[in-house]
Amino acid sequence: MRKNSILFLAGIVIILALGFLLPWTIRNPFYFFVGYVVLQYVTIATGWNILGGYAGYINFGAAGFFGAGVYLAAFLYTTLGLPLPLCILSAAVLGAILGVLMGYLTLRIQGVYFAIATLGLVIVLETIVHNISALGGASGMAVYGPRPPGWSPGPSQYNFTVMLMIAVASVALARFVEISWIGRGLRAVRASEDAAECSGVPTLRLKLLACALSGAVLAAAGSPYPFYTSYVEPVTAFSLIIGLNAIAMPLIGGTKSWAGPVLGALLLASVQQIATVTISSELNILFVGLVLIAFVAFAPGGLADLFSRKQGRAKP
């Protein structure tokens, strides 16, 4: 356990160092635009998995949390001129509050109701944004992001590095949750809520904690988005594709451990990014839908599980 943690920490340091160095070595900004999107999905998948994977509570409303983060960051930056880190932090806090609120309303009953309620969160939040003129409503809101600091060569590289830091922080948080008493309790909840409760696990409080952490990560994933597109409007901020990917990526990668969502997001987001600039059509979403069905039906443990099973078999 300790050895793994040291390895993990070393990995983080190396990845962060690359995040600061790569913008100076790779000249072509395109890779940072694409990299940003991939990392955004790594964060989303990781955040979703804290609740969906560990606790088994499915959240169809990832786009709601994401969009809330997008809009709060855009609003705070354009009206109050808050610095970027504070925008991200505020978005995370809002996401946590939304998560607790959702959880408090629905978690005392079966998980399926929670799932249905999250479907509604997106629509309710989108409706609210439409009706608040300070957020631009349907016309959207132009956001001219901060000038990149000296350590970053340009805005796309800067956004990339910021997103990388958020992604790394999220993965570290997810891993901490997973290996700590929180994760064990959540897995117990997932397996049997009654048995967990009767084993002394405060299931409701634990689920609320998971909702809060998951919501915080999902909202944080959205907070740099206004600076990436320079423009926010409700349809893309609350886009269905975010909710879809949030579920598909962990499921494809594997929901049991932090590596699953990361793997799934790297894979699926990269495929989608390549598809956008190559084949591109409705087939893209069709592909995701079919892959989703295939994994649920034939490989519920995700890629991580397939790999470990294959390796397990290879060993005599």
């Binding site: 064990r184 117990a188 397996a191 084993s199 049991k256």
Partner: protein, 237 residues
């Protein structure tokens, strides 16, 4: 006032128009072996759920070590020392046998190394060889043992064994009984809910019988066996 560890006073529970339980009064002494019998739907499981906190009773109160626990949550009752096993084993799937025991240890305060405690308990119930196996791979008997081990790892004061022997063979029943006897010798009060009559008769110091939500008889094994009301419930007119 330490001669009563758990007491229920006029506890009632209804679902809609259907009164599932009560009113029931029942006391448990520390270290006592209490058997609860009664046909299906007689309110036994509802009673346990009221004790462990899965349900809140509609009326009446539940006291544990002199303290009213009627309104505290199930996990807190578990931490106080009321522990249960489930009728249908509910292992924490996706975890190893050892991890299954670490869950209560994470949340109930136990002195010393958690892992050592878990290993000791697993050895005592005869699961030492299965420590790092996934819990899904266990046999029926092993699942029952795991269920008991998980219930007693947190050092409970009261253990409720809900049909812990259903579907087991004669030898397996003896094995489970010996685990429960051993546990009881260490001072834990055990409530056994069971349909396997010879087992519950052999185990219990006192037996109570439920019928349509009410306690209809109470006494030693011999008394219960002779009780006409109980006979009527079990053998008809």
């Amino acid at each position: 006032m330490n001669d009563i560890v758990l007491s229920m006073k006029a506890v009632e529970k209804a679902f809609g128009a259907f009164r599932a339980l009560g009113p029931v009064d029942l006391d448990l002494r520390p270290g006592e072996r209490l058997g609860i019998i009664g046909p299906n739907g007689s309110g036994k499981t509802t009673l346990i759920n009221c004790i462990t906190g899965v349900y809140r009773p509609d009326k009446g109160s539940v006291h544990f070590e002199g303290r009213d626990i009627s309104h505290i949550e199930a996990h807190k009752r578990a931490r106080l020392g009321i522990s249960r096993s489930f009728q249908i084993p509910r292992p924490f799937a996706g975890m190893t046998v050892l991890e299954n025991l670490l869950v209560p240890l994470d949340y109930c305060h136990v002195d010393g190394s958690k892992e050592e405690r878990a290993r000791a308990v697993l050895t005592s119930v005869g699961l030492a060889g299965r420590i790092s196996h996934p819990s899904e791979s266990l046999s029926q008997l092993e699942l029952r043992k795991l269920e008991l081990a998980r219930a007693l790892v947190g050092n409970p004061k009261v253990l409720i064994a809900d049909e812990a022997m259903a579907g087991l063979s004669g030898e397996e029943i003896d094995e489970v009984l010996s685990i429960l006897f051993a546990l009881n010798r260490s001072g834990v009060a055990v409530i056994m809910i069971e349909h396997i009559m010879h087992a519950v008769m052999r185990f219990s110091e006192r037996i109570v019988c439920f019928e349509t939500g009410r306690l209809i008889a109470s006494g030693t094994s011999a008394e219960i066996a002779e009780n006409p009301l109980v006979q009527k419930v079990y053998f008809g007119e």
